[in-house]
């Protein structure tokens, strides 16, 4: 048998049939559902009088529209409320588990999946959300889909898909202290571009990835979609298995042993051939900051806001500078902020909050910052952080400590930027208007966001790790 990549293995074990046109019918083990992209899928199911194929394969949670404070008051925006109520009634009617707003397990869909053991290695996982790539960190094949496809999976437990090509991004060596998974993925996107991964499933490997915690791996896979690839993947190892063990919905006893021995096969074969391999040197990665309106528009913390070097992209480059209110040549460290947002499915896990709190501890948010907020990714993350006293560290420094949800990552609830406001954000997209109409987003790591909150401008957080 020929050598296979992890992606090949996951694909083949889920292929129900191959169609004449070369597409495959793939079996889907798990579907995650949220309130924004699912109502029409449930409506379609009803209109066609179809039942879910396997109810227990689905789990739902409201996250996009949900308020992050004063929850006891309910949801003020009637349109958001209707979307969340609709998710509740659709799931109730069909018997699908929904972690509603009052459930301690509620959180961002891509945080709760791995956290609850709903996401397991070796699975195919889909969700009507592009950041489903996150779950690939556990050695699962996970990708985002559209609303018709959500309905398709509900009704058939399958999807018609064309197989992607294989890409390996290998990160050799070790990351320097204070340089995180977020800096690494921003550097990768900065180099390969937002279309660099189009048509590929990207597997991340190499020493720096092997050394990384599950939280870090999830950050990397989360932003694979920003590099144009629908799926990111990381081989299963002992770190993965330790992470999954004992989670609420993870298998136990005999099933655990069976699962574990299978999961240990979930890595690419040594002789596997990739269509493309890109190599990075971890030691060279510096803390990264986005300066523009696309995740590929990034610079190292000691760099400057660049001039366009590619004539084909000059117009886009200059539009971005104009929107962001920045001039080429300006040092990145001179970028100042109005708001700081620590949260989103990229960076709202316990390790992210610990890293930010380590920088914040005993310090204060700069007086020039009008709002600094921490939005934990889930109820359990929030509870864990509180048990460790992290909430106190943030609150004492002048941060707000909120309830879990997507929040200012996409500003569908009340958390948003005003026109012209500049935000240091640990989220994943810096598109025009993403965090509120006219708002300006700079993507960075939790530690970098914490340091920016203290100093009021971008600063190299690695200095906080010295001595």
């Amino acid at each position: 048998m020929s050598a296979k990549t992890l992606y090949d293995k996951l694909w083949e074990t889920h292929e129900v049939r191959r169609n004449d046109d070369g597409t495959s019918l793939l079996y889907i083990d798990r579907q995650l559902i949220h309130e924004v992209t699912s109502p029409q899928a449930f409506e379609g199911l009803r209109m066609n009088q179809r039942a879910p194929w396997r109810t227990g394969a689905n789990v739902a949670v409201p996250d996009h529209n949900i308020p992050t404070k004063d929850r006891e008051k309910g949801i003020e925006d009637p349109v958001s409320k209707l979307q969340i109520d609709t998710l509740a009634s659709n799931t109730r009617n069909l018997g699908i588990t929904n972690f509603d707003m009052s459930d301690p397990r509620q959180g961002i869909v891509h945080v709760i999946g791995p956290e609850q053991g709903i996401t397991l290695p070796g699975m195919t996982i889909v969700c009507g959300d592009s950041h489903t790539s996150t779950h690939g960190a556990l050695g699962a094949l996970a990708f985002g889909i559209g609303t018709s496809e959500v309905e398709h999976v509900l009704a058939t437990q399958c999807l018609v898909q064309a197989k992607s090509k294989n890409m390996l991004v290998r990160v050799d060596g070790k990351l320097r202290r204070g340089v995180s998974a977020k800096d690494l993925i921003l550097a990768i996107i900065g180099q390969i571009g937002t279309a660099g991964g189009t048509g590929y499933a990207i597997e991340f490997g190499g020493e720096a990835i092997r050394d990384m915690s599950m939280e870090g791996r999830m950050t990397v896979c989360n932003m694979t979609i920003e590099a144009g690839a629908r799926a990111g993947l990381i081989a299963v190892d002992q770190i993965t298995i330790n992470y999954v063990k004992g989670r609420n919905f993870a298998p136990a006893g005999k099933l655990w042993e069976a699962a574990k021995s299978y999961w240990q096969t979930l890595h690419s074969d040594d002789a596997a051939i990739y269509d493309k391999v890109i190599v990075f040197d971890a030691a060279e990665i510096k803390p990264m900051v986005s300066w523009g309106t696309s995740p590929e528009m990034v610079a190292p913390v000691d760099g400057i806001v660049p001039l366009s070097v590619d004539p084909a992209k000059t117009e886009q480059h200059n539009n971005a500078l104009k929107y962001m209110g920045l001039k080429p040549g300006m040092p990145i460290e001179d970028i100042t902020f109005d708001k700081v947002f620590i949260g989103s499915c990229t960076n709202s896990r316990i390790e992210d909050l610990r890293e930010a709190a380590r920088i914040i501890k005993g310090r204060k948010v700069a007086s020039s910052i009008s709002l600094a907020m921490v939005v934990p990714g889930s109820g359990p993350v929030k509870a864990q952080a509180e048990a460790e006293g992290l909430d106190k560290i943030f609150l004492n420094a002048g941060f707000e400590w909120r309830e879990p949800g997507c929040s200012m990552c996409l500003a569908m609830n009340a958390d948003r930027l005003e026109p012209g406001e500049r935000c240091a954000s640990t989220s994943n997209r810096n598109f025009e208007g993403r965090q509120g109409q006219g708002g300006r987003t700079h993507l960075l790591s939790p530690a970098m966001a914490a340091a920016a909150a203290i100093e009021g401008h971008i600063t190299d957080v690695t200095k906080y790790y010295e001595a």
Partner: protein
């Protein structure tokens, strides 16, 4: 899904290129929980002079009388004629939903954006790609003849004009088959029901830990 076999319908000319999905249905309407009901908000920013919000009653909103769909002679049109790269931008499936809800079943264009094109078929609509010169002639015909209608026949892949002229069009066989039979992709997949069941049985036996379900 509705079958599509043939249609004789009035043609509305939308003489623009690069019509994006945000123009077809602006983002505030994405908070809707329905697949239907988007028709009144189709091309909202072009059609009305005020700012539309989801759920708003459109009957008393100020109309932009210059916009083609607001002109009496195009009331009831079911064929939209447009230029190149129609449906570009965000992948929102709300765009074909809005066009269909308004009453458009066929869209004639020089080219379509990929995702929009495939989303149309998922909703029983027929997007047809025609060469630029044919599109140009059709625009001319709608200007010269009030109430210009045409017939689209899917089986023969032909458009017939009132003059008797016929225009052939290309289409993927699988998509044609699904449309003609009213088979949505789900229906198509369900035709492999036994294969899926057999696969599932083996799969869940082999990976028995997968059956550890969530409650």
């Amino acid at each position: 899904m509705q079958k599509f076999t043939s249609l004789t319908g009035l043609v509305a000319p939308l003489d623009r290129s690069n019509v994006d999905t945000d123009a077809i249905i602006p983002k505030q309407f994405l908070k809707s929980i329905k697949r239907s009901g988007f028709g009144p908000y189709l091309f909202d920013e072009w059609r009305y002079l005020d700012h539309g919000e989801p759920g708003q009653d459109c009957s008393n909103r100020p109309l932009n009388t210059d916009f083609v769909l607001n002109q009496d002679e195009y009331k009831g049109a079911s064929v939209l004629l447009t230029r190149s790269n129609f449906g570009c931008g965000s992948s929102r499936e709300h765009a074909p939903w809005a066009l269909l809800d308004y009453g458009f079943q066929v869209i004639l264009a020089e080219s379509f954006a990929d995702i929009f094109y495939s989303n149309c078929f998922k909703n029983g609509m027929l997007p047809i790609v025609l060469p630029a010169d044919e599109i140009g002639e059709l625009f001319q015909a709608t200007h010269n003849n009030q109430g210009f209608s045409l017939n689209v026949d899917l089986q023969t892949q032909k458009i017939t004009l009132p003059s008797g002229k016929e225009i052939e069009f290309e289409l993927d066989e699988y998509r044609k088959y699904c449309l003609l039979n009213g088979l949505d992709e789900i229906g198509q997949t369900l035709s492999y029901k036994e294969e899926i069941q057999a696969f599932e049985k083996k799969h869940l036996e082999k990976y028995s830990w997968l059956m550890h379900e969530v409650h």
